[in-house]
């Protein structure tokens, strides 16, 4: 119940924040929400399933383009566009994921990266349909969402709903099966789970939510470009999740807050943003391998001086089994 108080407090702050800040920061808040959802969807693969996707922007970008194209070329209402983005991104994840889940570890990462770049080049080259590197302009949200604050609250509702859905999934038997696959793939196979099938389903769900995040981006930014699919973009949820903490449900969102605020702040006075984030990531990886929330959890645990727990980042023991003798 203590946790609920925290959430309620955060929620109140989130509700009144745009009323007391300027428009620039409202834009930053929207960006935090969208990228936070993007990172949370990424973490379904990274934190829960234990595989590093380095091409998650593909589904984000496909989602963004689905909504962008439908709005610009078809004047389709935004809610339908969001739904369409989820479906298209999910289908895309189903097709590409079918191949990705055959691999694990570095090979999984490389294949997701390769597919991500493939999607990028398709969008980049297909001038007649996607506008190529000119991108798509004039993605204007409906009149009621034109103001910064209105779009913020709209995004807040969608993102919170999506996060609740991801939370429910993470606590469901399916979510625990993902943890089981992460912890010990072999054992999970021997309790009767078809590993690839489950990994694929999770990959598709993660793609669907990435697509939703992407869909929210176009009307916010009024335009989209193929860079949304590049591996740079795929790196963003990786950074956010590592900073926030991959073993905590709120890690990606906390990472998004830190990353996006810092970027807005730092780019205000220097062009050395990549250097800054590079240093931050290095420090996080070296000095707090569980991310910000991992560190907090550890401190709280020490504070309460409970029984020693396993370090969350510690790699699994008992993973190897007896196939000798």
């Amino acid at each position: 119940m203590k946790r609920m108080w925290w959430l309620a407090l955060v929620f109140i702050v989130v509700l009144i924040l745009p009323l007391i800040t300027g428009e620039f920061w409202v834009h930053v808040l929207v960006e935090i929400l969208i990228l936070g959802l993007f990172a949370a969807s990424f973490n379904m693969i990274f934190g829960y399933m234990g595989q590093l996707s380095f091409g998650h922007a593909a589904y984000y970008g496909v989602g963004a383009y689905a909504t962008g194209l439908l709005m610009v070329k078809g004047s389709v209402p935004l809610p339908i566009c969001l739904l369409a983005s989820m479906i298209v991104a999910g289908l895309c994840a189903l097709i590409l994921g079918y191949f990705c889940v055959r691999l694990t570890g570095i090979y999984f990462a490389i294949l997701t990266l390769a597919f991500g770049q493939l999607i990028y080049y398709i969008i980049f080259q297909w001038y007649s349909f996607t506008g190529g590197d000119d991108g798509l302009q004039g993605i204007i949200p409906p009149d009621v969402l034109l103001s910064a604050n209105a779009y913020y609250y709209f995004t807040l509702i969608i993102v919170v709903a999506a996060l609740i859905a991801i939370w429910r999934i993470s606590e469901s038997p399916f979510g625990y099966t993902m943890r089981a696959i992460r912890e010990n793939t072999e054992r999970t196979r021997f309790i009767g789970i078809n590993i690839r099938r489950y990994m694929l389903i999770n990959f598709v769900i993660a793609g669907i939510f990435a697509g939703l995040a992407g869909a929210l981006w176009g009307p916010f930014n009024r335009s989209i470009a193929p860079d949304l699919c590049t591996w740079h973009q795929s790196g963003i949820p990786v950074f956010m999740t590592v900073i926030g903490g991959p073993f905590n449900f709120f890690g990606p969102m906390v990472g998004s807050v830190i990353y996006t605020f810092l970027m807005a702040f730092v780019t205000g006075f220097t062009e050395y943003w990549p250097l800054t984030i590079g240093l931050i990531i290095t420090c996080v990886v070296l000095f707090m391998p569980g991310g910000v929330l991992g560190l907090c959890e550890k401190k709280i645990r020490v504070f309460r001086s409970r029984a020693p727990q396993l370090d969350p980042i510690e790699t699994t023991e008992g993973k190897s089994s007896g196939y000798g003798g």
Binding site: N184, I191, I193, A307, L310, G325
Partner: protein, 250 residues
Amino acid sequence: MEDESILSVKDLCKAFGGVQANSYVNYEMISGELSAIIGPNGAGKSTFFNLLTGYHLVDSGKVYFKGRDITNWAPHRITRLGISRAFQVSNIYPRLTTYENVRQAILAQQRRTLNLFVPANQLARQDTFELLEVAGLSQHADMLAGNLSQGDKKRLELAIALGSRPELLFLDEPTAGMSGEETHDTMELVARLNQEMGLTILFTEHDMSVVFGYARRLTVLHLGSVIAEGTPEDVRTNDEVQRVYLGEEA
């Protein structure tokens, strides 16, 4: 029903590189048996289990479960059919609690793992607690499995295998690394599972004394081949077994 064949293995072969790990192994089990496979380290006991459960692909030969050819099936299909195994080195989920470890196996057995919407902590509570009780792990339910003692990890390994509600259970050295008392308790539990729940159990062991007290039928593997089979008494007095096995122990 008692005499129904549950497992039938024909001419099973497996080589790793040049080493013949299993060579024309034939094996039969009838429902309700509690039997053991013994042999020194490297005899091919674990390989035998790995071939039966789909961990390794067989080179040649056949495996039948209740008359059904399951040779080279994927492990998850074999498990769903009613065969489960406990590994030699405990093979658990170290960063989940003991309770969650067992629940995971039960949820999988109940085909509930595709459920995306109901919180897992509302499901299979009764079954999980019962199984923890059977395995003697109730007092450690909330402990992270990685923090359990070696003996408790082995017990958890057994509980996970039981969570699949198998008809046929393979235990690969279930008492490896246990103290004398733990070994006794574990083997008593195995015997109880066999007698009270009617589980057909096949276990491997390299410690002869453990085997003689419990298994009703012994099979001796040596360098990948079956060299003797029979009651513990028969095997104990078998000359070849004495030579390759007991002789080495002395």
